[in-house]
């Protein structure tokens, strides 16, 4: 009897819905606050110090940019597995060009263009060739990942020009430059999603592509643009990473893909309709960033960090799925 009540979905949605909904809607934000509290209690001297807060923000800056890119694609109802390797390829292309003597601004522009082109290819395959986003972006992820190795010859590229370091290492007002870039990208994406007809079109296509089409929206063009924007934003993230590290490796930004998807999924749980949204994504990024930083400070191994990141993704996806099941 007890068991059947526990496991029957119907009884759960009937009895627990109001409580469950509240916990889940604020749950992700509560989780962030709890994480902060726990680490602050364990290491009160270090965790909340100005220096460490600046550290956390600097560490999550690039993830913020790539997660913003992922948010756009997921608003449209697709997802992009290639954002990580696209960031890597853009960064390493820029580095390789600079080492070959190309002026810094031109190298950066070409790096951005490379990412944009990858995004356009994704958009073409998904919107016009009608491949599933999974297959199309898995393929470009693999292809682009291989191209990065070709560009870098499989070695880490050092000795980049001094003026390039301005992007990732300068500290205006004592604040690391990547934070400014992250805020700018996040702000632009938020404004576009919230206040422009393009944002409305993206949400409409993600809500129901057929309804959007029959309402006069150019669905294919809209999806194409979302992937293109994601490619461009990923390129920004990849180039900043190379500048911050002072080197370009052949797989440097690849791991951001999974973290970005996790962040967006976490963010989807905080609004009622369960859609991807930038505010939620930032909360998701915050959870991942605080956890990694906190575990570092308490001296947990990177292996444990990886396990916990995986568990967080499971928790996020489960929450989203529960929300969807309940709404249906």
């Amino acid at each position: 009897m007890v068991k059947s009540q526990l496991f029957s979905k119907a009884s759960m949605s009937r009895d627990l819905t109001p409580i469950l909904r509240r916990v889940m809607q604020s749950g992700t934000i509560v989780a962030l606050l709890v994480l902060i509290l726990v680490f602050a209690l364990i290491r009160p001297d270090v965790f909340l110090s100005l220096g460490n807060v600046r550290n956390i923000l600097e560490q999550v800056a690039i993830l913020t940019i790539i997660a913003a890119a992922q948010t756009v694609v997921m608003v449209v109802g697709d997802f992009d597995l290639s954002v990580g390797t696209t960031a890597t390829l853009s960064g390493s292309t820029t580095a390789a060009l600079m080492l070959g003597g190309t002026p810094v601004p031109l190298s950066v522009i070409i790096g951005l263009a490379v990412g944009t082109v990858v995004g356009m290819v994704n958009g073409l395959l998904v919107a016009y060739v009608k491949l599933s986003a999974f297959v199309a972006t898995l393929a470009t992820m693999t292809t682009v990942g291989g191209l990065s190795f070709i560009v870098t010859n499989g070695v880490t590229l050092y000795g980049l020009p001094e003026e390039f370091y301005w992007i990732g290492q300068s500290r205006p007002l004592g604040i690391p430059m990547p934070i400014f870039f992250a805020i700018t990208v996040a702000l632009i994406v938020w404004v576009v999603l919230k206040f422009t007809t393009l944002g409305r079109r993206w949400y409409a296509v993600g809500g129901n592509a057929e309804v959007a089409r029959l309402s006069g929206i150019n669905v294919n063009g809209t999806r194409f643009l979302a992937f293109t924007v994601a490619g461009f934003a990923s390129a920004i993230g990849g180039i900043i990473l190379v500048s911050r590290l002072g080197s370009a490796s052949s797989a440097g930004a690849n791991s951001y893909m999974l973290l970005a998807i996790a962040a967006v999924f976490l963010g989807m749980t905080i609004i009622k309709s369960g859609q991807a949204n930038l505010g939620g994504t930032l909360v998701g990024v915050g959870i991942i960033g605080v956890m990694n930083n906190g575990l570092n400070i308490v001296g947990a191994s990177t292996y444990i960090q990886q396990v916990l990141t995986g568990l967080i993704i499971i928790a996020a996806v489960t929450l989203s799925a529960l929300k969807k099941a309940r709404d249906a």
């Binding site: 007809t197 944002g199 409409a204 809500g207 089409r213 029959l214 006069g216 929206i217 309709s273």
Partner: protein, 511 residues
């Protein structure tokens, strides 16, 4: 004439026990009566047609006979014994098999595997016995006199071959009652003849066949007896030889219309929509005109091209040739919904939940989606204008909602339909296309929508409406075009129309 509820009195051989019999079946959905005391009796070695208009209850009856639904009351007898059809598997095991066009085969595996699917697959210790599989499959195809390569992928077969494979599978499970629902919908005349030969040979082997079709000619060619359903009741069962097409049509028809429809009090103005030689996938060479101040109704059977015609006109589907013009202005040949809307042609689509509204989004978002131009300046949306527009829509159409921010999924079907209508009316279309304007909507909201259509027409809008319900078609239209196999088969003034004439056109018969 036989009295209702006693159809078995005309059975061909009264002594024989029916292979399948249903008695006094009643079925309600959410309190709505779908089947009301249905009687059906099918003899072994008989092909028995079940006829009726859309919504008469044929599909529900099939689903009860195959264990998909349980009846609220009444019983199903197999060989004279009452049986409990708890689910599809039970019905299958007892030998009652229904063939649906699209569900009948697995396209990605071979013909032989399809014929001996699941439990029927011969195996030894968990491994498929391929030799026995091919032998068993061939045996069934031989019974049907069919030569289909056993190794081919079922998905590569022609529609009639796929149907044959499905029939062969039914035989492999020792089916004794075979139910076919519109089996010839995608078959050519030649293929249909082929299928009929097989069905006749199965009949002669003692299989009981229930044949559901809209195509009366086929019923008269193939079937031994027929049962006509109307409004969830079985009206009559007759030997096919003892009746005529006209008698069948007039029996299928026959309902009161009530005061649901507002009077046709609008004067017809100049031609607004003109279509010349329009072709699509089903639609063939359609030309028509629709006038200001007029509701043009489009009727026809499912698959006649009536819905496709609206989709072509609205840009939802590309036409292969033909021209569409609005007040003399020719629309672009490569039409999109956006271009059609810009030219003043708007579509309220057939499927509300999958085509009309984003269920998870608020009313105001749904209205805005079709009106982004009017709520924005240079690409920047004004949330104030979005809310204003939604408020106006809610007020004008009297949508019952808490406010413009309420998710559409929480509204009743009728109010959802009003949202779809409202978002298109906000575009102030010159031509409003409506596909099934009141499907699945309560009677009160239906009356409101009918009144609204009349008001629109009075203000000069041209309405073109498709409906599968003849009373609705007659009730809302000024003029009616009937489509049959992609072409316009007849034109009638609604004031002079009756169901029989329209049905005759629907079936492609010249009245």
């Amino acid at each position: 004439m036989t009295a209702r509820n006693a159809p078995s009195t005309e059975s061909t051989s009264p002594a024989a026990t029916p292979a399948l019999e249903v008695r006094d079946i009643v079925k309600r959905f959410d309190g709505v009566l779908a089947l009301n005391g249905v009687q059906l009796s099918v003899q072994p070695g008989e092909i028995h047609a079940v006829l009726g208009e859309n919504g008469a209850g044929k599909s529900t009856l099939i689903k009860i006979m195959t264990g998909v639904y349980a009846p609220d009351s009444g019983e199903v007898l197999l060989d004279g014994e009452p049986v409990e059809l708890a689910n599809v598997r039970t019905a299958h095991r007892l030998g009652i098999v229904a063939l649906y066009q699209e569900l009948s085969i697995v396209p990605t595996i071979s013909v032989a595997e399809n014929i001996l699917l699941g439990d029927q697959t011969p195996s030894r210790g968990g491994l498929v016995n391929w030799r026995a599989l091919r032998k068993g499959a061939k045996l069934q195809l031989d019974r049907l006199n069919q030569r289909i390569a056993l190794g081919r992928l079922a998905g590569d077969l022609s529609p009639v071959q796929q149907t044959m494979v499905a029939v062969a599978r039914a035989l492999a499970t020792d089916a004794r009652v075979l139910i076919l629902d519109e089996p010839t919908a995608s078959l050519s005349d030649l293929e249909t003849a082929d299928l009929f030969a097989v069905l006749r040979s199965l009949r002669d082997q003692g299989v009981a066949i229930i044949y559901v079709s809209h195509r009366l000619e086929e019923v008269f060619e193939l079937c031994d007896r027929l049962t006509i359903m109307r409004n969830g009741e079985t009206i009559i069962t007759k030997r096919v030889a003892d009746t005529t097409v006209d008698e069948v049509i007039s029996t299928m028809v026959g309902r009161s219309q009530g005061e649901l429809y507002p009077p046709r009090n609008t004067a017809r103005g100049e031609a607004v929509l003109a279509v010349e030689g329009l072709n699509g996938r089903r639609v063939k060479d359609v030309s028509l005109q629709a006038f200001a101040g007029e509701v043009l109704g489009i009727g026809g059977l499912a698959g006649s091209g009536r819905s496709e015609l609206l989709r072509l006109l609205s840009g939802a589907q590309k036409s292969s040739s033909g021209t569409i013009s609005v007040r003399g202005v020719v629309l672009p040949h490569v039409l999109s919904v956006g271009r059609a809307l810009a030219a003043g042609v708007a579509l309220v689509p057939e499927e509300r939940r999958s085509q009309g509204v984003i269920l998870s989004a608020a009313i105001q978002e749904n209205v805005a989606v079709a009106n982004l131009g009017s709520v924005s300046t240079a690409g920047w949306v004004s949330s104030g204008r979005i809310t204003d527009l939604a408020r106006r829509t809610v007020a004008e159409l009297q949508i019952k909602a808490r406010g413009p921010r309420q998710p559409v999924g929480q509204l009743s079907g009728g109010n959802q339909q009003k949202v779809v209508l409202g978002k298109m009316l906000a575009r102030r279309p010159q031509v409003l296309l409506m596909d099934e304007p009141t499907r699945g909507i309560d009677i009160g909201t239906r009356a409101e929508i009918y009144r609204l259509i009349r008001e629109l027409v009075a203000s000069g809008t041209t309405v073109v409406a498709v409906s599968s319900e003849l009373p609705e078609l007659i009730g809302i239209s000024d003029r009616i075009l009937i489509m049959h196999e992609g072409r316009v088969s007849g034109e009638v003034l609604a004031a002079e129309a009756d169901d029989e004439v329209l049905l005759a056109y629907c079936y492609g018969r010249v009245a």
